[in-house]
Amino acid sequence: MSELRWNPLLGEWVATATHRQGRTFLPPADFCPLCPTKPGGFPTEVPEAGYDIVVFENRFPSLRPAPPAPAIEGSELYPVRPAGGQCEVIVYTPRHDSTLAAEPVEQIYKLVRVWVDRFRELGAQPYADYVFIFENKGEAIGVTLHHPHGQVYAYPFVPPRVARELAESLAHRERTGRCLVCDIVGEERDDGRRVVAENESFVAVIPFFARYPYEVHVYPLRHRQALTDMTDGELRDLASVLKAVISAFDRLFDISFPYMMVLHQRPTDGGSYEHYHFHVEFYPPLRTQAKLKFLAGSEMGAGMFINDTLAEEKAAELRSKVEPVVWGERSVGA
């Protein structure tokens, strides 16, 4: 069963997806459903080999293009609606024992190109008001499959966190005449202490207002609303800066560093969002090598994050782990 239930207290939709309880949970490597099917082997989600990246509809979607009618009747206070939308899985590589950080920058660039394709194709669908691209990495985040992969959700509404960013960006534009994220980029680069890495097109920072110790934001230097606005050189630079950041994550504690990576782009609902500015956000759950940053009473109950660290110190620590990214060579480590 799957439906959207309205939360009148917060003014947001909650998806129920009871069928997801039965999805595959941490299978052994020999039975990975995201590896290509081997001759004579058990059938995986990917029937053939010989690809760079593969995308498919999630077998256990919380949103789908032709959703069933809600299983429960709504009311004026509690509206319900079908869980329309789409959920895709992006398998980053046929290599089971890899990670995005361990892949060469060329492979990350290919992934960026696939992101462009999925944003463009899903964003054109009538059910998709917002295309959300993300990766959950590591058991600390709750991943159920180790094979390197990310996901795409096409929501039938603009999700609340992005809606809040849009509202703040519009208010800033109306107040100052400038783009909010352009101003954040300017202030972070002027200060410099929280910059982790940068190239000709992007800057990666642990922002002044970071909620997690190693929360990194990657901003384009030019005012772009979505990946589809970018030149090929900018897409390559995005791949480079992502490679630099996630490789530095892994070097912090010599582990495969868990994180959530999310792409914030303009909605695809036909509205005008010139005031918005594309960016990537990372939310790593670790605050030390062995300690997790839990979302507890203040964070979950009040919405106020308490960060036990200083962004300036953590940025210096992470910056010291950044190494140049070289095209045309296979990366090592991680």
């Binding site: 995308v55 696939v114 394709d117 300017g186 940068e198 030019r222 090929d232 910056r319």
Partner: protein, 61 residues
């Protein structure tokens, strides 16, 4: 289905092949040619540890 993604030859060619799985879901294979050492990436692809403090030229757009 096979198609380019409109990024031009310098970007390298992306090929999409869409198939339908037994349960009706779609699956798309993406393959690429010529993306490895295309011009435009070198130099720009090596992030510097700490940038000189300078505002982006277009930051007030």
């Amino acid at each position: 289905m096979t198609e380019g993604d409109g990024e031009g030859e310098d970007a390298g060619r992306m090929t999409k092949r869409r198939t339908t799985l037994e349960d009706g879901r779609y699956l798309i294979y993406f393959t690429f040619d010529g993306v490895g050492e295309a011009s435009g990436a070198e130099g720009a692809a090596a992030p510097e540890p700490l940038a000189e403090a300078e505002a982006a030229e277009e930051r007030d757009v």
